[in-house]
Symmetry: C2
Subunit: 385 residues, 2 copies
């Protein structure tokens, strides 16, 4: 078994469960911090562990460009490369190709795009996206899909959905034929022998050689634009292909939030109850609670980390824009109801000073707090189910 | 007593000792990391504590501009503002005025200069530099001096030295009249009542009200350019003014290193054996060892932190420029003989990737390692005495 999902409690549509991955257990519903380039910007791995992060997201598009999949594979895969012994999920690269490349060219075969770094030309297909994700070695990887733009007309939404379905078949076919090429197995003993802390945990997680029999898990992605009938069809036909988990993609692309909710709710109704459901790229603290209540098990978003870099902090008393002069003399903690290491030690006045002075520590502390707030939010949701 | 210095062992000219400050003990010889704007760039205070940092340096010039002394005073002083319960030393601002301001104007009264941030005009005198440093509330503060430029002729070196001596008298006079205005005492109870971790330690250090009787310690600064006879005269006349510690300033300003060593060695010979000696603004790992062997007790330098930001790392095997492609596939730790949290967990390949990808974590981890290397270096020096 490459992935097990156990549901332990239900409350309305919501479920509390556990995802067992080759690199440890993940309590769901879960928020996954984004570690684009094998790093959650500014936060070291030991702090992520202290925060209770059980699964990180890595971006295939970015890691393919830097440091490159051959390098990561040679170094034993992402877990070992970044010294992160817990679970990782990688996206397929499709969304970044869609959002970072205005000159991309989509054909039946795949997508040609230019690197945002140097303009060089590259090509992703379902097969190459699988090959890259197997080389990176995340525990959960995603089928290669087309993220339908918003707005799109009915013809375009259907054509895009059909393409994603054909790519899902090809993704699965390639994955099944190559899944044993994941870098973990061959590096298992070497890894343990080095004896660095993260690696010791890797070896423990492997459970005495059990690792060799494990592979990654490939999730399918439901598309269909903003049309609930197409979403239903996409869900049903993706389920026919058969995946151990299903993602809802193509949302948070510019549509009104009410529409997002509507599409999520109607799509979830057509997903299997016993498989994990992953809503990609959402959302605010209020939204992730709402989606968990709808029966979503996994979410990721750059919002907490990106907002932190802009001095926008989430607290139990609402959003705080720490750059404001009103905080310059504020001796209170950022969030009086937060137990994170930032709120426990520093004042708003100090955080405001760091931000106003462009100190790097501002980004570090702000990110730690925002992630802590998101993880606490999901912890509270789990406890309430 | 505002400061006690106990020498516990000697070896040649070198001494091992303890500096007792109002905010804890400092083992000497000590290297003091630079926390320019109330932050060691990228490194949180708990990591500095873990590294064993017992004393930090803050820059009066920078803190005067941001967040301003009135703000820091209102917030209880630097220790409380930045949640750093251990010792702090502040410089006088003189060196930054000298190094960051080409249009400064020096008169008998003081220095008029323009802010490097917005070009606004400001004035520092011995009196205002004391007033600012009392407001910031560092445990050890420095007399306002003129850092003589290099090269300078005999007439200029003497005139500059004489000015520094007159300013030392004025610094001491103002300090003695105002030293009880340090923000600790009035904020002592309020601080303890808030109960944040750093502040609890502050209260413990205060030792049940003993704090109220303590003040800062003002050090004198020896100048005299590169002339050893002038240095001797500067030392003798500064000692006549009588300070609890003496700094050697005006070095590392462009002169050859052999000259620096010569001036340090000859100056140290004229400083009291029972008072701490602080060599300002040096040096490489090899140099700080050498100066400690000459009988220097305290040093500070931006080198370990600044070099880290440029990917230049100090190791037991020499300097490593982590940006080099040769490290892209290097699975070994940065320094196999280093026990710091960076070397214990991450590979050179990962550190190289972070640096090459402009990840903020590169700066964080590089700085932690370089500081650890400097602190370990001084720890080894102390053990060898």
């Amino acid at each position: 078994m490459s992935l097990q999902f156990k549901i332990e409690a239900r409350s309305g549509a919501a479920r509390r469960g556990r995802l067992l991955t080759p690199h440890g257990e993940v309590e769901t519903p879960v928020f996954m911090p984004v570690g684009t380039l094998a790093s959650v910007k500014g936060v070291s791995q030991d702090i992520l562990e202290d925060l209770g992060v059980q699964i990180l997201l890595g971006n295939t598009y970015h890691l393919y460009l830097r440091p490159g999949v051959a390098q990561v594979r040679k170094l034993g895969g992402l877990h070992r490369f970044m010294s992160w012994p817990r679970a990782i999920l990688s996206d397929s690269g499709g969304f970044q190709v869609f959002s970072l490349n205005e000159l991309r060219k989509v054909t039946e075969e795949g997508v040609t795009f230019r690197s945002h770094l140097d303009g060089s030309s590259h090509f992703f297909s379902p097969e190459s996206a699988m090959d890259i994700q197997i080389g990176l070695g995340a525990d959960i990887i995603m089928a290669f899909d087309e993220c339908t733009e918003y707005p799109a007309d009915q013809t375009r939404m259907r054509a895009s959905m059909e393409l994603t379905l054909r790519w899902a078949e090809r993704s699965k076919k390639y994955f099944e034929a190559h899944k044993h090429e994941v870098p973990w197995a061959t590096n298992h003993l070497g890894t343990a022998a080095l004896g660095r802390p993260g690696e010791r945990e890797l070896a423990v997680n492997a459970g005495g050689g059990a690792r060799e029999t494990q592979t990654q898990a490939l999730f399918g992605i439901v598309q269909g634009g903003m049309d609930t009938a197409l979403r239903r069809e996409s869900a049903e036909r993706t389920i026919e292909i058969d995946f151990p988990g299903y993602a809802v993609g193509g949302l948070s692309v510019g549509e009104p939030r009410a529409r997002t909710r509507e599409v999520v709710e109607s799509t979830v109704a057509h997903l299997p109850v016993d498989k994990p459901r992953y809503l990609m790229g959402v959302g605010t603290p209020e939204e992730i609670v709402e989606y968990a209540r709808m029966g979503i098990d996994m979410m990721d978003c750059v919002l907490p980390t990106r907002a932190a870099r802009h001095g926008l902090l989430f607290t139990s008393e609402g959003k705080v824009s720490i750059k404001q002069a009103r905080y310059a003399g504020d001796e209170g903690p950022l969030d009086p109801n937060c137990g994170c290491r930032v709120c426990a030690r520093y004042s708003r006045a100090y955080l405001r000073h760091l931000y106003a002075s462009n100190e790097v520590l501002a980004q570090v502390l702000n990110t730690v707090h925002n992630l802590s707030f998101y993880l606490d939010t999901m912890r509270a949701v789990r406890h309430s189910i």
